[in-house]
């Protein structure tokens, strides 16, 4: 679309004031016309100028005064906390009173802003121009308490049953107490029969678990590659001018070293930078990462959101806070170490357009770039390949609720807001949100595009990370079984059972496995007959079948998992799955203990430990240190 006359005039002014050169204007004009964005958005996606000078010129273009909101902050009395969301999205806020008129600071002067301002603050208004970074920063600081409070408590206040703030509901506590009492009474009155019943129930659960996962594998593995190719072609064919604005949230905590690689990975995305609304979300106390971000000299599309200190200090809280400032039609969360495939956002847009209207989220595949670092990273890769390449597509095809993975979940922003976003009290807020989406009648789909992450390469780190995940699954299980009928209504009976087996099964297997290993190992070594009454012949057969077929089936599932990617070198490692399960069980018991002692404690996974940086894997282009020399430029986004 040709540049508007106003933008053409602005371009002339910028060149005239030597903010940019003529060739830069030509390039920016071409970009703006191709992307169908304003000239300013195209210019800010390039590191050609100081953002302040751009906005000063912009103000002059409209013959409005320019204000520096850091030097002259807005009057807090004028900024209504209820308006914070809209102000952030429209980059407009009431600044100060001037002669009985409200001076409105905006980064986007124009008719729409005028209408919005009149609607909110009446006709006695006048406008000043401020940079978008100043406006975002001013809203953060002025409404910090309100926004922080909403980030923590919105879900609890609006939909308390969906929040993990309360670990178990009173009914769940009573039910647990009744079951425990029944078990103890049974053990006292008829111990053998009680143990047999318990054993039979566990056997049925094990059997159901591996049959269910086998079905998922089969269904997910048969996913049509033709459909994926079609999406890939449609993604490439999408015209740049019809792509929507995409918000990218990158919550980080003490990960300064990951910033350059992350920035480069985001630049590598095959998506017009002018249509990216990138928010690097940092904790107020994490001075090192804040300084590193400011020092990087990032382009104007990168914004820094500082989350005020409050508890719980979790990633979902940070995302909730940043969501207030999101301007995109779609929104994705990436972790600091993530390296998404370049065409991911395009594929997501293409898939959303093909999906049913009630699709709220699309989950991309996750995998690791440090696969070959050691045994643990190989097993972790098999685990992820099974989960994201086979199981989740299986859940999708069977129309079951999908627990989202930690990153690369792409949301429709309006639905995300409607659902009150992430639960800051749940330590696997992503999995919980995926189930909540199903619970509320929406749908999660999957996309054949991979984001590469760094696998925990040390057992201690891995156990900590997995403990958090399993604790989160337990929280999610407890939250969504509070109102089982509502879940059945939202997901259907099959979906409900799928949820129980998929989430509950993963946790319970980790907890039960060591008990049965001990019994089996003890019997093998001692040939003791003490437990024979608990294992009558037919039950012994079922247990043996579960032991043999279950182990074989899971090994086989792990063996098949890497085939889709052609990572055949991992096939033999699937034979060592038992060792991985030992770690899983340790993590499961640690998670159970933490759920009792510190249910909302977020155990941070440390990244950057790998000796295999992403740049060496061949999956991506440049990463660390390759930032176009951006550090030499003054970055508007991080000037504060």
């Amino acid at each position: 679309m040709p540049l508007s006359s106003s933008d053409r005039a602005l371009g002339g002014l910028l060149v005239g004031r030597r903010v940019i050169t003529l060739p830069q204007l030509d390039e920016a004009t071409a970009l703006a016309e191709t992307w169908n964005v304003r000239l300013g958005d195209a210019l800010l996606s390039r590191n050609w100028m100081d953002a302040r000078r751009y906005y000063e010129t912009y103000a002059r273009h409209f013959d409005l005064p320019f204000v520096d909101l850091i030097a002259e902050p807005p009057d807090p009395a004028l900024v209504s906390r209820d308006d914070a969301d809209d102000c952030a999205r429209r980059l407009t806020l009431p600044w100060r009173m001037r002669d009985d008129r409200i001076a409105i600071a905006t980064a986007e002067p124009g008719p729409e802003t005028v209408l919005f301002a009149r609607e909110r603050w009446g006709t006695a208004i006048e406008f000043v121009v401020a940079s978008k970074f100043d406006i975002v920063y001013a809203i953060q600081t002025t409404c910090a308490d309100t926004l922080s409070d909403a980030a923590v408590f919105e879900l609890v206040d609006r939909d308390p049953a969906m929040s993990a703030r309360q670990v178990a509901s009173p009914m769940q506590v009573v039910l647990g107490y009744v079951l425990l009492t029944a078990l103890l009474v049974g053990l006292a009155m008829a111990p053998i029969m009680t143990l047999i019943v318990l054993n039979a129930l566990v056997s049925v659960f094990y059997f159901g678990g591996f049959v269910f996962k086998g079905i998922l594998m089969s269904v997910g593995g048969a996913r049509s590659t033709e459909a994926d190719y079609r999406i890939a072609i449609e993604a490439r064919a999408l015209r740049v001018d019809e792509l929507p604005v995409f918000t990218v949230l990158v919550p980080m905590f003490r990960e300064a070293a990951m910033l350059p690689g992350l920035a480069q990975a985001l630049r590598n995305l095959d998506y017009p930078l002018g249509k990216l609304d990138i928010k690097i979300v940092l904790e107020a106390g994490d001075q090192e990462t804040i300084e590193a971000a400011r020092g990087l000299g990032l382009e104007g599309v990168f914004e820094i959101i500082i989350v005020p200190p409050s508890t719980p200090q979790t990633k979902p809280k940070a995302c909730n806070f940043a969501l207030r400032f999101a301007r995109g039609e779609y929104l994705v969360v990436y972790d600091a170490e993530d390296r998404p495939e370049p065409d991911q956002l395009r594929k997501v847009v293409a898939t959303f357009r093909r999906s049913p209207p009630h699709t709220a989220c699309l989950q991309c595949r996750l995998n690791y770039y440090n696969v070959s670092e050691n045994w643990l990273t190989r097993m972790f890769t098999l685990d992820y390949a099974l989960w994201f390449d086979q199981m989740l597509p299986g859940l999708e095809r069977l129309d079951m609720p999908i627990p989202l993975g930690g990153t690369s979940n792409h949301f429709r922003t309006d639905v995300l807001r409607e659902l009150h976003a992430w639960d800051p009290f749940n330590v696997t807020e992503d999995a919980d949100l995926g189930i909540r989406i199903g619970h509320k009648g929406y749908r999660v789909g999957t996309v054949d595009s991979t984001t590469y992450e760094e696998a925990s390469c040390r057992a201690g780190q891995w156990i900590k990370q997995r403990s958090r995940w399993i604790k989160g699954y337990l929280q999610t299980l407890l939250v969504h079984t509070r109102r089982p009928l509502a879940l059945v209504r939202g997901t259907g009976v099959v979906g409900f059972l799928g949820f129980i087996f998929f989430i509950g099964g993963t946790v319970l297997a980790g907890l039960l496995n060591p008990i049965f290993w001990l019994i089996y190992g003890g019997w093998l070594v001692t040939s003791a007959t003490g437990l024979d009454p608990v294992f009558p012949q037919s039950l012994l057969f079922i247990c043996l079948f579960n032991l043999i077929a279950g182990n074989g089936a899971f090994m086989y599932l792990n063996m098949l998992a890497p085939l889709r990617r052609g990572w055949l070198g991992l096939v033999p490692y699937s034979l060592t799955t038992m060792g991985y399960w030992v770690l899983m069980s340790i993590a499961a018991y640690r998670a159970l203990w933490q759920l009792i002692r510190h249910p909302h404690f977020w155990e941070k996974t440390q990244h950057g430990l790998s000796r295999h940086p992403s740049a060496q894997t061949g999956h991506f282009g440049t990463a660390h240190g390759a930032t176009h020399g951006a550090a030499h430029h003054v970055s508007p986004g991080v000037a504060r």
Binding site: M217, S218, A222, T225, Q537, I548, L560, G566, L568
Partner: protein, 495 residues
């Protein structure tokens, strides 16, 4: 859904045909030894007269489990293996019908092609032979189709299907186990070249893992449940000896004198004549490797399996391999699109295959001709006599008999309850102490083929002729005698 529905009449026809065949063959005794043994064992297991261990480690596993389960839930006297075989036959008919429609054949062509494939003489012979061969045919079809999909698409689900098909083959029939083993060297050829280039060995590992693991599990179960033993190795050795005798009777020294080589040649001829559509279709698509290679891998596995069976003696007689011809024809019909484009030629080739199958049947199953002649002549006396003796034992509880050797006895009686077979304690005690103490004893003529291997005859050589002290003869026919203990007379050593 519509396709499945339109297949219903055809499935019912196949099911009815199978039941009629079962009734005729049981009445005339034209039932294979394996089917008889399975039948008797399933009745016994269904009545709970077999230890869990023997059920767990029974072989061939899938047909046995299916038959035992049917015997358990069906009314008493239901011929469980025949019913399972008929169900499997109908299932195969339905799958082939639906697959042919999905492959693009119009309804008339589908009906004709499905009829020529399902009622192929070799498949009918397999149906008569019992559920083992029906399971073998079903898993062979699964294997063949999955090979095509694996080469064309190479999705994880295709690898999984090939792996599970090999597992199914190995536990359906000894011949299936031979095919699964013989297929291993050829599997790498069936995979997409890009995967093979990556790591051929690991691809093959992924394909054969289910089978290898299941065999290990099977052996382990045999160890955990005492009494299960390794009986599945013994039976094939006996049937191979019978097959060799039949071959010698018809073909003398054979073509080359090397039995394994001859078996391979016979299999090749059976495939070529029984399924000419395969090799003509491959000629049409000779330049399209993804369509040619899977069919060649399938053929190579089957031919090698025939040789392997004879060379090792581990997998019994190779007659069941005959079923590969109509199965491969069905696979090619549903996976080579050119055939749907030339239905007339395809049907003509299927007709030729039907005739060729009939003509080559004696080549792969030399014993069948003899059995058929005997059946037409009024039944095989060994079988019919055993069935009659079983009938005579109805109403008598505590019949000592070697039912492993003469499973028809159980069939004739309709129930294993009240029979002291080789797995029972009275049978063990009788053999250990050479002392008869049961209310009844059934024994075949030691001069008859069935009597030679009867364990009671071996322990009590004069039992058939002279009876035992304290026992009187209450029934006899040409082969069998049934003795009853005389009340109040203490039994002693037989001699």
């Amino acid at each position: 859904m519509t396709r499945t529905f339109t297949a219903a009449p055809f499935v019912l026809l196949a099911f009815a045909t199978a039941l009629v065949l079962a009734a005729v063959t049981v009445r005339t005794g034209f039932v294979s030894d394996d089917a008889m043994r399975l039948w008797a064992a399933s009745i016994t297991a269904g009545e709970g007269n077999i230890a869990v261990g023997r059920i767990v480690a029974a072989y061939p596993t899938f047909p046995f489990w299916a038959s035992a389960l049917t015997a358990l839930i069906a009314p008493a006297g239901t011929p469980a293996p025949a019913l399972v075989a008929a169900i499997m036959f109908a299932l195969i008919a339905g799958i082939w019908f639906v697959s042919l429609r999905a492959a693009g054949f119009v309804r008339v062509s589908t009906v004709l092609a499905a009829a020529l494939l399902v009622f192929h003489p070799v498949l009918l012979r397999a149906e008569i032979d019992g559920p083992s061969e029906m399971f073998l045919a079903a898993f062979l079809f699964m294997f063949g189709v999955a090979l095509f999909d694996l080469r064309r698409r190479g999705a994880t689900a295709d690898v999984m299907t090939v792996g599970l098909a090999l597992l199914g083959l190995a536990f359906s029939h000894p011949m299936g186990a031979a095919i699964a083993l013989a297929a291993v060297p050829f599997l790498a050829l069936a995979v997409r070249p890009v995967l093979v280039a990556n790591s051929a060995f690991n691809v093959v590992v992924a394909l054969v893992f289910p089978t290898v693991f299941a065999v290990g599990a099977f052996v382990y179960s045999s160890w955990v449940f005492p009494g299960a033993g390794w009986s599945f190795f013994a039976a094939p050795a006996e049937s191979l000896a019978t097959w060799r005798a039949s071959v010698a009777h018809i073909f003398g020294e054979g073509l080359t004198g090397i039995a394994a080589f001859d078996a391979s040649l016979a299999t090749i001829v059976a495939l070529m004549f029984g399924a000419p559509v395969v090799y003509v279709a491959l000629r049409w698509v000779a330049r399209r490797r993804p369509l040619v290679v899977p069919a060649l891998v399938f053929s190579a596995a089957v031919v090698t399996a025939a040789a392997l069976t004879i060379a090792t003696g581990l997998f019994g007689e190779p007659t069941a391999i005959a079923v590969a011809a109509p199965v491969l024809a069905a696979v090619v019909m549903v996976r080579v699109p050119d055939l749907a484009a030339r239905p007339a030629a395809a049907l003509a080739l299927l007709v030729a295959g039907w005739i060729g199958g009939l003509a080559t049947l004696p080549l792969v199953d030399p014993g069948a001709a003899g059995h058929l002649r005997a059946a037409i002549a009024g039944g095989e006396s060994d079988r019919t006599d055993a069935l009659a003796a079983g009938g005579a034992a109805v109403g008598h509880d505590g019949v000592l008999a070697d039912t492993d050797n003469a499973p028809a006895l159980v069939l004739g009686r309709g129930s294993a309850r009240g029979i002291y077979g080789p797995a029972s304690e009275p049978f063990h005690l009788a053999l250990i102490f050479s002392r008869l103490d049961t209310p009844f004893v059934a024994v075949p003529d030691p001069q008859s083929p069935i009597g030679v291997s009867d364990r009671l005859n071996k322990a009590f050589p004069s039992l058939y002729r002279r009876g035992a002290i304290g026992y009187r003869l209450i029934y006899h026919n040409d082969t069998w005698r049934l003795y009853s203990r005389i009340p109040n007379v203490a039994s002693k050593k037989d001699y």
